[in-house]
């Protein structure tokens, strides 16, 4: 049994090469172990002190968010809020202030839960995951990374170092909306992210929608291409809602029936597209959308 506190990325990669599992905020790993989901790994390497992983970098062509960036950072970081607003929307909803202060983007992604809140935003923003070992770096598309509930295609010894997204035109906007039964310490019953890029005439140039907690992994809604050229109106939103509901394969559990989830995923998808389009038009929709409008809005 060992616990290594890595002080450099190389340290961490060396420990991983020796068979240690990374622990960032520990909010999935430790809580899961206590609940009896999986015992704590024998050997752990703490990566929460690695400055290299805690940076957000923006270039002309991409935005790169370190795996160690916490939700508390994501929800207020100006670059994230500007360029990847949906991620900020999602991060702002995670757990409680305590959870957000230690929980990380990398942990959320690598934990691989279909209910992860940053997953759908990353998908609609076209993110790829950067995975590193002591000797190699590779880039993996998210639909290849997530292979099932709690499962990823990452190999033992691979550390996720960053999530990387291509830069998008100024007329783009993104948003994430989640169904919440209460205003904090909630877990996604369903959620939806959308990213919209508008053409100069205000019509849709591109639209991506992804769904949380309605399939074994984050689910991207397919077949939206024919909506390019449409304006964002009620008809379009209804069509998105219908497709989202149709493609979701939700389960019935204590949180909701499949019937309710199917309907709600349409409502969430519709709201996400609506908010993303507003942001693409430059209209202000505060982060997170869940606190900006509707039942969850501040009084």
């Amino acid at each position: 049994m060992s616990f290594t506190i890595a002080t450099s990325l190389d340290d961490a990669l060396a420990a991983l090469a020796d068979g240690a599992r990374p622990i960032a905020g520990g909010t999935d790993l430790v809580v899961g172990a206590r609940q009896g989901k999986d015992p704590l790994p024998q050997n752990l390497v703490a990566i929460d002190r690695l400055g290299e992983l805690a940076r957000v970098e923006v270039t002309d062509s991409e935005i790169r968010i370190g795996a160690g960036v916490t939700h508390a950072q994501l929800m207020v970081d100006a670059s994230v809020v500007d360029h990847c607003t949906a991620i900020a929307d999602a991060a702002a909803l995670v757990g409680s202030p305590a959870t957000r202060n230690v929980g990380t983007l990398g942990g959320n992604v690598m934990n691989g839960s279909p209910a992860m809140d940053t997953g759908a935003p990353l998908v609609v923003l076209g993110a790829t995951a950067e995975l590193r070992t002591a000797s190699a770096t590779r880039t993996v598309a998210l639909d290849e990374l997530w292979t099932g509930p709690g499962q990823t295609s990452a190999q033992p010894g691979e550390l996720c170092t960053a999530l990387v997204m291509p830069a998008r035109p100024a007329t783009s906007g993104s948003a994430y909306v989640r169904l919440e039964y209460r205003r904090t310490m909630e877990i996604a019953v369903v959620g939806a992210a959308a990213s919209v890029t508008l053409a100069s005439d205000g019509a849709i140039e591109s639209l991506r929608v992804a769904l949380t907690a309605v399939a074994p992994t984050i689910l991207e809604v397919t077949g939206l291409d024919d909506l390019s050229g449409s304006t964002v109106d009620d008809g379009l939103l209804a069509s998105v809602a219908e497709r989202a509901s149709g493609q979701a394969t939700p389960i019935t559990d204590l949180r909701a029936s499949d019937r309710y989830r199917s309907k709600m995923i349409g409502v969430m998808a519709r709201r996400a597209v609506e908010a993303a389009a507003m942001r693409a038009r430059g209209e202000a929709v505060a982060v997170p959308v869940n606190r900006a409008t509707g039942v969850g809005a501040a009084e």
Binding site: R183, T184, K263, M264, V295, G296
Partner: protein, 781 residues
């Protein structure tokens, strides 16, 4: 009207009010789980894990064989005693049959909790499964399996009708409700179904037991130390003199820690192990094992009215889920009947209420047992009545509520009561009738709750330096009300309350009392403390009379001085009198709360009398909630709750506001998110905080409270009544009526979860309910 506004708690709160506050906030306070004694072992229970089964084998030898295990005990190792209030239907450890999943089969004491768990798991338990009873209606069928084969084999106190799966049956009958319905103008029938819910104190319960010779000291997180002590005495057949129960700081209770729970198990285990033993519950155990959770209910109610909205009759059938054992629930059937009747003038009443045995976790007193559900049903029904006759809900209530001098639905005549004032104050505060966004509405709920007379004593002594001690059987479960006891005593003897120390939560030193149960700390313990303090005051007056050469009747005790009435300059410090007494006849007082009888009833006949058909010093209240509803998702959020309470005189505003705020939050949880779900096997599906959703501080509405401080005959100290349970009662009702006002129809299942609200909006049949459509019938049927 004699209502008075009480200042908000921020103004002038004396620091002594919460003497335990700093301990609790800074972490220096010690709870039961913090206790560590030399040689102490850890306890774990082996639970049935099955809801109904005949035990065919229980072999503890594999557990005993594990090194580090000091004792394993079962029903064979304790006296064969059947106990409980009303129906003595259970034992400490299961014998022959298990009737719910959380029933204790065996207890293990070992060096560590992990080892104790390993040993508990090693116990071999084999059984033949029996058919479970989970459905309240099916439980009544002749063909239903029985939870208890023969109730009459148990010792039963009282004369409540019972039999089959019916633990108790109570009814209220006044006039002829059937005939009144026949000739009524409008009749409305509704069905409401409430899920079970939990008290969920933040501190899971813990017990530590230590024997010295033939005496045992039990530290336990109970609200009712004397009940706990009596339970140990009864089940382990020990005299009261050999059992001492001490309650360290208590981390909440909400009724869930009333009654007697695991004190005897751990005392017996400690005796068998020859060492002190500590039990600390996990959250799962806290959900599954104790015989205290809020009962599920099915309520069918029919009300008949004249065309102008005057209620002429109410008929109701109520089924209350008792769970596997009676715990303290024997009065629940009658209590539920009173809350479904509601504080209305109803000349003809026929309510039948049955407490049904099932293979669920036993129900027991959780903050105002049966009342929030009964009130929710009655009040949602009342809004349906108002709609049926085209009246505003407030106006409908004005026409039908009980007022001073009126006769209520069980035949009780109410003396001075403030329900009318509560209705007006809360609705005015909420701005009833104002314009709101179309996804918001106000909803109203009114209700009542009794005070209870119970034996309670108190001692008091004054030290030579003029400070004093109260020794009371009261218990601090977070209400702060025990702190008010110091104010009462201080008032009698004329010293500052901060000079009075409270000795409490220890059965070896305090006289008997009901502890923190039934909103009675002030009502009963308070009267006992007043009595004890008066004796000291009398002694002080005698001493002062000697000293000042005045008549004892003329001595005024105030501000630390004894002075002659009308001549404040002729005075002596109370501390000086105390010093005199310290070298002579000591200053000692004792008080007894005289038992108050229930008010009498006229014109009603009630079956299965459980002392709940009339209300002693009743509290009345009205809550008005503003709720926003997302029609697309069914998510509801409570934005404001305006409350008005007739709890008599408010002695401690800060504590009173705290009770209202806590009660409102608990009520909002019950309204929206807190419900226990059961599988077909009668086991709980969501015994954890991830799936049993409490409200959080982020969900808290703004809460606006006013008190209607009218004089109540038969009240507690200085005209006070209880307040701890009341604010929990009408909250779900007011939230439910607000939701109904937004979506145009009531949600008939409690909690009114987002999915259930959505189903109501969409007009979908609710898959987990069997709700009937409401029937409006114009004219006689």
């Amino acid at each position: 009207m004699t209502e008075a506004m009480v200042p908000a708690p921020s103004e002038d709160v004396p620091a002594f009010v919460r003497a335990d506050g700093p301990d609790k906030v800074t972490g220096s306070g010690r709870y039961t789980a913090d206790i560590t004694l030399t040689g102490m072992l850890a306890a774990k229970f082996r639970y049935a894990g099955v809801s109904h089964a005949r035990i065919t084998r229980l072999d503890v030898e594999p557990a005993r064989a594990i090194p580090g295990v000091f004792a394993v005990i079962t029903a064979d190792d304790v006296p064969d005693v059947e106990f409980s209030y009303g129906i003595a239907d259970r034992r400490l450890f299961a014998k022959d049959v298990v009737r719910f999943e959380g029933e204790v089969l065996a207890a293990v004491a070992a060096l560590t909790p992990e080892l104790a768990q390993q040993a508990a798991d090693a116990i071999i338990f084999e059984y033949d499964e029996l058919q479970v009873v989970t459905d309240l209606e099916a439980a009544l069928a002749d063909s239903s399996p029985l939870v208890h084969d023969d109730l009459d084999a148990y010792t039963i106190t009282g004369d409540t009708p019972h039999g089959g799966n019916v633990a108790t049956h109570s009814s209220i009958t006044v006039g002829d409700a059937g005939a009144a319905r026949e000739s009524a103008d409008v009749v409305v029938s509704s069905r409401y179904v409430a899920d079970a819910s939990h008290a969920v104190p933040i501190e899971p319960r813990a017990v530590v037991a230590q024997w010295e010779g033939d005496k045992v000291t039990v530290y336990t997180s109970t609200q009712v130390p004397f009940d706990a002590r009596n339970g140990v005495c009864e089940t382990l057949e020990l005299p009261a003199s050999r059992v001492r129960v001490i309650v360290p700081h208590l981390g909440g209770g909400f009724g869930g820690k009333c009654g007697f729970h695991y004190e005897a198990h751990i005392a017996a285990l400690s005796r068998a192990a020859g060492r002190p033993v500590k039990l600390v519950f996990s959250r799962w155990e806290e959900f599954v094992a104790p015989d205290r959770r809020r009962e599920g209910m099915i309520i069918d109610v029919t009300t008949s009215m004249a065309a102008d909205g005057t209620i002429v009759a109410r008929e109701a059938d109520i089924l209350v889920d008792n769970g596997a054992y009676i715990a303290d629930a024997s009065f629940f059937a009658q209590a539920a009947a009173m809350h479904v009747a509601g504080p209305y003038r109803i000349p003809n009443v026929r309510i039948d209420s049955k407490l049904i045995y099932t293979n669920h976790q036993p129900s027991g007193s959780v903050r105002a047992p049966t009342a929030p559900q009964g009130c929710w049903a009655s009040e949602l029904h009342t809004d349906e009545l108002a709609a049926a006759v085209g009246l505003d809900p407030l106006e409908f209530r004005r026409r039908n509520i009980v007022r001073t001098g009126d006769v209520g639905p069980s035949g009780q005549t109410y003396e001075e009561i403030g329900l009318e004032q509560c209705l007006e104050l809360a609705s005015t505060s909420a701005g009833w009738g104002r314009d709101l966004p179309d996804d918001e509405a106000l909803g109203v709920g009114i209700g009542w709750w009794p005070s209870f007379g119970a034996p309670a004593g108190a001692y008091m002594k004054m030290h030579g330096d003029g400070s004093a001690q109260i020794i009371t059987g009261a218990n601090e479960c977070g209400t702060g009300s025990v702190m008010t006891l110091r104010m009462l005593a201080a008032d009698e003897i004329g010293i500052d309350p901060s000079a009075i120390e409270l000795i409490y939560q220890d059965t070896a030193v305090a006289p008997v009392g009901p502890g923190a149960s039934g909103s009675q700390t002030l009502f009963n313990h308070g009267r006992a403390v007043e009595g004890a303090a008066r004796q000291i005051a009398d002694q002080l007056r005698d001493l002062a009379a000697d000293h000042l050469e005045a008549n004892a009747d003329d001595i005024v005790l105030a501000d630390g001085k004894a002075s002659v009435a009308g001549s404040p300059a002729i005075a002596v410090d109370i501390s000086e009198l105390a010093a005199t007494a310290a070298s002579g006849e000591l200053l000692l007082g004792k008080g007894n709360a005289e038992i108050r009888d229930w008010p009498t009833l006229s014109g009603s006949s009630c079956l299965g009398e459980q002392g709940f058909s009339s209300f002693l010093a009743p509290q009345f209240f009205c809550h008005v909630s503003r709720v926003r509803v997302d029609r697309d998702t069914g998510v509801a959020r409570v934005l404001e709750v305006h409350t008005a309470h007739d709890s008599g005189t408010i002695l401690n505003p800060m504590a009173a506001h705290g009770q209202i705020e806590g009660g409102v939050m608990m009520g909002v949880g019950q309204a929206l998110t807190e419900g226990t779900r059961h599988g077909d096997d009668a086991r709980q599906l969501n015994p954890a905080l991830l799936e049993y959703k409490l409200q959080t501080i982020a969900d808290a509405p703004s809460i606006h409270t006013q008190f209607v401080e009218i004089f109540t005959p038969n009240a507690g100290p200085k005209g006070s009544k209880g307040l701890a349970e009341a604010p929990n009662v009408p909250t779900a009702a007011s939230v439910g009526n607000a939701i109904a006002a937004v979506i145009g129809k009531p949600v008939r299942r409690l909690p009114m979860t987002a999915e259930r609200v959505w189903e109501a909006v969409e007009g979908l049949d609710q898959p987990d309910s069997s709700t009937d459509a409401t029937t409006y019938t114009g004219g006689a049927q």
